[in-house]
């Protein structure tokens, strides 16, 4: 998966982001200052940088100018509009405001990676393969017909692999924000998905919360 550089001076947040990215199969480099960030940038092949704006030795905006060839997502506590505009006009792909949800961070990481065509197009779960570019799911060599909702559910579970997604979240993803359905609708679709793809051992129910795809 992708190589992601985390530039964040707050150790707790840095560690948390790193662990979450690792869970979903990304490889991360943790640094705490601008100098360290440049060192890693020069020696590694990076796909994305998560950058804090307030760094001990420099400012995130200045650092971003030197990381030109890699997409940047700002992670910042500053929620002033002025800074957001500056970040986005300065060539950043996106920004995220602390405190943030891990799901949100992962979703944005995925979007940016997909835009720069660094995201994996093929995801394998046991003998099931999801081809995200073509929207095709195969099991063994056989193509499986999935409804649009089933496909969206499977895709988000696969992208957020090993992380539980709540029923509400899944409902939003597959049916859209405007859909006022019952969360139990999700249960029905997940049950069908498990059966069609024989993923009973991989799509786990998380007590009182939602579902998690474990790889």
């Amino acid at each position: 998966m992708a190589n992601i550089l985390i530039v964040e001076d707050e150790k707790g947040i840095n560690e948390l982001i790193s662990r979450t990215l690792k869970t979903t199969g990304h490889n991360s480099f943790q640094v705490y200052t601008g100098m360290e960030a440049l060192a890693v940038y020069n020696s590694q092949n990076l796909d994305l940088v998560l950058l804090d704006i307030n760094l001990p030795d420099t400012n995130g905006f200045m650092l971003a100018e030197r990381l030109k060839s890699t997409p940047v997502i700002y992670v910042t506590a500053r929620d002033e509009i002025r800074d957001r505009i500056k970040g986005l006009t300065g060539g950043a792909e996106d920004y995220i405001i602390k405190p943030f949800d891990m799901e949100e961070l992962l979703a944005r990481v995925e979007v940016v990676l997909r835009r720069s065509q660094k995201a994996a197009n093929l995801i394998n779960i046991a003998d099931v393969q999801i081809n995200i570019g073509k929207r095709v799911v195969t099991k063994g060599k056989r193509e499986i017909n999935l409804t649009s909702q089933e496909y969206e559910l499977l895709k988000s579970l696969a992208i957020n692999r090993n992380i539980a997604l709540s029923r509400e979240k899944l409902l939003d993803i597959a049916w859209g924000m405007d859909y006022y359905g019952d969360c139990r609708t999700v249960d029905v679709h997940i049950r069908r998905l498990r059966k069609k793809l024989e993923l009973e051992n991989h799509i786990k129910t998380v007590f009182k919360y939602g579902y998690r795809l474990e790889i």
């Binding site: 707790g12 947040i13 948390l16 992380i163």
Partner: protein, 366 residues
């Protein structure tokens, strides 16, 4: 817009409205008084004119003096119309005024103000109407208005700037603190979510829970310090006799690595606050490693750490109670502020000294 800016604008507008309404009333009242005074002067003048002219007329009805005096008066912008029964003797009036007996009126003509008086007296053989130009009052009022407005503008500007600075200063700690509270909150929120959603091993569960606990404690500590800070800023402190040896022993129980030197001295102060101060200094010092030694001398308590060295710039900031850049501190930067505040309330000072050779020395001077 930030709340304090909204408050500022609201307060300032309220000030402007009240101040200007007040000013308007004062100037209006002043002008009215001035006009009143002018009317009274004019009545006196009128009476003296009637008296003079009547006497002249009684002596010699065809006297040229009446003509002459009338012309002289019109040079002073006083215009007269003099009747003898029904025949007019002399008129220097600029326009025909309403002639009604016992009347004092203010009339406007061609942008100028005139006071008109007609009051025939039975004792006098003459009927005299009187008109006086009051345009000079307008000029005076305009001058006054201009100076009032410039004073108003300068004062409003001054008050506006002072208010802005004060409100900004009041708000500054609030925005600093909310920023500092956000970091532990992000951690707590993030790790709790991590525990809830990620399939974790025993090690990961322990790691995340430990982080949540640690950050919660940090927040607790910060809030405690802020509360103490708020309390000591407002209330009076209760001073009592504190035996330094006793204080040292109590601290040594809390910090097992602390070295204390016996002393028989005592100080007067608020024991709870002095202890908070000492705890802050000791834990700051212990964090940099090395042995912390406490001893007392003439009206001061001294804390020394031979292995600690503080950079010159930071030392300056510490002594002047300025903000130290966050990369140079371990905690949330409220501790030293609190220490200075406590010493200020005790009318004492806190002094940091540091050198490569002797390490760091903090003197608490009473």
């Amino acid at each position: 817009m930030q709340l304090w800016k909204k408050n500022y604008i609201l307060t300032f507008i309220m000030f402007l409205v009240i101040f200007n309404i007040g000013l308007f009333f004062i100037t209006t009242k002043f002008s009215e008084n001035e006009l009143q005074r002018e009317v009274e002067t004019a009545i006196t003048e009128y009476e003296s004119i009637v008296y003079t002219f009547s006497n002249i007329y009684a002596d010699d009805p065809s006297s040229r003096l009446i003509d002459y005096l009338s012309s002289q008066y019109s040079k002073d912008q006083i215009y007269l119309k003099i009747y003898d029964g029904n025949s007019r003797i002399k008129s220097t009036l600029l326009f025909d005024m309403i002639q009604e007996n016992n009347k004092i009126s203010i009339e406007k003509m061609a942008g100028s103000k005139y006071i008109c008086i007609t009051n025939y007296s039975r004792n006098s053989p003459l009927q005299i109407s009187f008109m006086k130009d009051l345009s000079f009052l307008n000029q005076k009022q305009q001058d006054r208005l201009l100076s009032t407005l410039s004073v108003d503008f300068l004062l409003s500007l001054f008050v506006g700037i002072m208010l802005y600075i004060t409100m900004k200063q009041i708000n500054k700690p609030v925005s600093n603190i909310s920023h500092e509270l956000r970091t532990p909150l992000t951690n707590i929120q993030g790790y709790a979510q991590y525990l809830m959603t990620v399939k974790t091993s025993e090690e990961e569960r322990f790691f995340a829970s430990e982080y949540i606990l640690k950050e919660a404690r940090n927040m607790q500590e910060m809030i405690d310090k802020l509360l103490i800070m708020g309390n000591i800023r407002e209330g009076e402190i209760k001073k009592s006799k504190i035996f330094i040896q006793r204080l040292f022993e109590e601290l040594a129980e809390e910090y097992p690595n602390l070295q204390i030197q016996p002393t028989a001295r005592y100080i007067y102060g608020d024991k709870m606050l002095i202890k908070t101060l000492m705890r802050n200094l000791i834990s700051n010092s212990e964090r940099s490693g090395g042995e912390v030694i406490l001893h007392a001398s003439e009206s001061s308590i001294i804390l020394e750490n031979r292995d600690d060295y503080i950079d010159k710039d930071i030392l300056k900031a510490l002594n002047k109670n300025l903000a130290v850049k966050s990369e140079n501190i371990h905690g949330y930067g409220q501790g030293v502020h609190l220490c200075h505040e406590i010493m200020r309330r005790h009318k004492g000072t806190l002094m940091y000294e540091s050198g490569h050779k002797n390490g760091t020395k903090v003197s608490i001077l009473f």
